[in-house]
Symmetry: C2
Subunit: 553 residues, 2 copies
């Protein structure tokens, strides 16, 4: 049954890669070993006095590629690697010889890392973090001149939640109870349905890296944990959207399961069709795959759509009927930019349909790396786990204490984003100004980039209703596709590399996310600061024009 999925999968990726499929079981992995496949680029990051070249594998050292866990080799990131590596090399070179390039800076539109692009942190959040880190400040009178009164109050309240006020101590496996109480209250306020602090796993986790993968990384470890729980072998499958943020495909590969893809419909604004879900589910089952869960990313990554509530109801009913765990990636819940769409949590939708704890298994992921605050460096977030029997919950709890990370600053921040300043608080006005400024600017940037992309020859781009991305489709001329194949590159990767080398703008090829065979896309964030947008639009427009002039049939 694995072959079936691989064949399925291969269909989704650049057909020019097919000759490699026997080496690349993960359908989002065009190259057999993307990292090993670009040693010159990657070894720059290892350029080390002590480092040996791959040719030294013949040394007396005990560990070789042939002797490591093959799952590690299989766990690939089509979107990691080459383009980002080229960009980082260009950035290095720019320091020394600016004149060699037609641009003077690299603009990273590949990763949802707002503060690296100049977005400032929310002041109230950082005040509270600083006071909790160095609590003796709270005893100093000068502190009142330096910090808002509500940040001081909040810090006191948080420290009261922490046993011994010890922010340097380990906490409960699920996170500090008092902070989980605050988050549960925030969820109740959001949904209008009760939330239980004992359902909250308040943890950071996950990896850094200046690559697209880091986008929702603050829930990476939580996702790994659920995959590890649900996947015993390749006979266990997970329904995942195509296109998708590749965390899911990578995690499924790492844990030896099978990815069961379902398509989002670009023509209807990346709509999620229940009929396609059913079709893929039945096809997988007919091949002997036991499908365990459905992954839904809402708002969408890389596709930026916000699901309609009715669509969400159908999804919940589908999971209920088919006995699937619903894994709801809701890390962009605060990033909605259009008046006609609103975020609804899947838990709210399930409860409003009358489904309770005993009816449906639902995991909702939230992260402090997203939203208007974009605190990627703080590794905070939570998952809300509902509808699991207590014996399975005990296994999840056990996994939490093996796998998860929970730095206390990240826990504090997660509680802050779920309970920001309220009207009347000292910080309220400045907080609201920061928040609305960031969100309205993101909406403006999204619209500007969307319009610019739609004005390009052969490019169509759905609107970014939410999240932080645009995922335009590029209709590449046959000559460009042939040129790409001559370079053994996916046509969209070929386009993105050309774009980078000509403009310094870094975007990610669609083949990293999966796409309908024969269609090509790239993903571009809306995160560069407003003053950079015109330059991006101009560079992109000029590049695309000359690209089309070069390859137009």
């Amino acid at each position: 049954m694995r072959r079936f999925l691989i064949n399925q999968a291969k269909g989704l990726v650049d057909h020019s890669r097919r000759q490699h499929h026997h080496k690349s079981p993960s359908f989002l992995s065009p190259q057999p070993r993307p990292l090993a496949s670009s040693p010159p680029a990657l070894s720059r990051f290892f350029s080390s006095t002590s480092e040996m070249s791959a040719s030294d594998s013949t040394s007396s050292l005990p560990v070789t590629l042939d002797s490591i866990n093959p799952k590690v080799l299989k766990c690939e990131y089509a979107v990691r690697g080459e383009i980002v590596n080229i960009a980082q090399k260009l950035q290095e070179d720019l320091k020394t010889n600016k004149d060699a390039y037609p641009f003077d800076e690299i603009i990273y539109c590949n990763i949802g890392n707002p503060q690296s692009l100049g977005q400032l942190p929310i002041k109230f959040f950082r005040e509270v973090l600083a006071l909790c880190d160095h609590a003796s400040l709270l005893d100093e009178s000068e502190t009142h001149g330096l910090f808002s009164t509500d940040s001081i109050d909040r810090a006191w309240r948080i420290l009261d939640h922490i046993p011994g006020r010890a922010t340097g101590a380990y906490s409960h496996s699920q996170g500090i109870k008092g902070l989980r109480d605050v988050i549960a209250a925030g969820i109740e306020a959001r949904d209008g349905f009760p939330a239980d602090p004992n359902d909250i796993f308040l943890t950071d986790g996950a990896s850094p890296a200046v690559t697209i993968k880091t986008k929702t990384l603050s829930h990476r470890v939580r996702v790994h944990m659920m995959m590890q729980l649900l996947l015993s072998s390749e006979k266990d499958g997970i329904l995942c959207p195509i296109p998708q943020y590749p965390l899911y495909s990578a995690s499924i590969a790492l844990h030896g399961g099978s990815l069961v893809p379902y398509y989002l419909d670009e023509a209807t604004g990346w709509g999620l069709e229940i009929s396609d879900l059913k079709k893929q589910l039945e096809e997988a089952r007919s091949k002997g795959i036991s499908v365990r869960a459905l992954v839904v990313i809402n708002p969408g990554n890389p596709t930026g759509q916000v699901l309609a509530e009715e669509n969400q109801r159908d999804i919940v009913n589908f999971c209920k009927q088919e006995g699937l765990v619903l894994l709801a990636d809701e890390v962009y819940q605060e990033n909605v930019y259009v008046p006609d769409k609103k975020f609804h949590s899947f838990k709210k939708v399930a409860r409003s349909l009358g489904y309770g704890e005993k009816d449906i298994s639902l995991v909702s992921f939230q992260s402090v790396s997203k939203g208007y605050y974009g605190e990627c460096g703080k590794r905070g977030g939570y998952m809300e786990v509902t509808g699991f029997t207590s014996d399975v919950r005990e296994q999840i709890y056990k996994m939490a204490s093996v796998n998860l990370c929970s730095n206390i600053s990240g826990q504090i921040l997660a509680s802050l984003v779920m309970s920001p300043p309220k009207p009347g608080d000292d910080s309220y006005d400045s907080y609201m100004a920061e928040r609305d400024g960031i969100l309205s600017s993101m909406a403006k940037r999204a619209k500007t980039l969307e319009d610019a992309l739609n004005s390009l020859e052969g490019v169509t781009c759905n609107r970014a209703e939410g999240a932080m991305y645009l995922f335009p489709r590029i209709n590449l001329p046959q000559k460009a596709i042939e040129a790409a194949e001559a370079e053994k590159t996916a046509p969209d990767a070929f386009y993105c590399k050309r774009l980078l080398n000509a403009t310094g703008v870094v975007v990610v090829p669609g083949s990293g996310f999966g796409q309908v065979p024969g269609t090509w896309h790239f993903r571009c964030t809306i995160l560069p600061q407003e003053d950079k947008i015109p330059a991006i639009v101009n560079r992109l427009t000029d590049f695309h024009k000359s690209f089309m002039d070069e390859f137009r049939n």
Copy 2:
């Protein structure tokens, strides 16, 4: 060959558990499902309006214990669970009815969590963290009245290392380059041999939880990563000390490998005999196990010994000759309490033997949770990876970006502990006073507890040369062993439970760490503050006396 190891393993654990061995492949796992096996205790932590009892497994929910990944079930923590759960329940009950117990507080001697027991954080470290978290403080004049001048300088220097000074941004997969430079310099100063910033994986990772497991958790995820790299199946084995901190056995079980145990010799102060290493290695190989690595914990956990340099040289030569990766758990490198012992890093020992990058594969783990600072809540630390070919390093780098966590505060703290204030710095005197105060107090507490334990009937205790623990051996009367078996409990767990219920003192049974069959131990930390030590000694002495009176043959 698996059966061989299981049999090996079973020998190590309470023989009263043997009837369960077919269910418990991890030798440190006396119970088939320690968590599930104590639902009443554990479900307290899930006591939740929405929670269902295990009996509801018959509900319509899709996930059951039989349908989850069996490796998750197998990954067990003999030391987690019951005793800590009982302690936490007692702590809850104490709040409401103090009079029901012969003690008025629970004293946690089960976990290396210093700040939870009243140890204060090092002021300089927290000043720098606070300034980096809320960098706009650096522009305020009042700040100079509140913070030491060197903390302000250091914060500026650190922020200069962070691209865009964005402490809320994702960083490089290995951690922020400038901070890795500082750490490499600290390692060079420590060892007198060069260290390469590109060898440093500067990451936190790992899980919280008020259990023994959290002790070296800030390197848990790094250990998982190396195990995941080295273990493809149960035919791959890792040599691990017995007794050992069970992170290793758990990680090996989780990744489906085989644990190859070697004994530490209690009679010679937990000496590590090369002859025993060789014997176990050959025995494993004869069963078809490919042994990939040797784990050494120095200073030892739970055993507290500090290896002699000559012994370390023999270990390095052994790894070199046998082609084993040396996984050096060196998280207690700053916790040495005896004048006749000194910490030497395995890298220093290897280099001083003339072994370079091409001769030996060595991974050294360090953590900010230990040392004199005990910043467990900050999840900081690093691993130094040397002697791997570049293609394998690329796979490690890839794993780092999938698995590891790197909150920037944790990265900053790791750089601070490797470059504390220097003579002449504004903070130097107060820093040294804090540091020496903590370490000399730990040494004093270790000696007091060691003497008290050795004065007990039938108890012998090696000295704590380093780390944070004592691991006394208790010669239990036959009547006590029979009483334990009647309760289907390991005799040492039986003793520890009795101790807890009588005194409120929480220690961990030796069976959680592995021990020579028929010997019984417990692990006790030296971390309670000095004013608590006399009470602990008295309670322990009185309890032990009455326990022996009850069970003496």
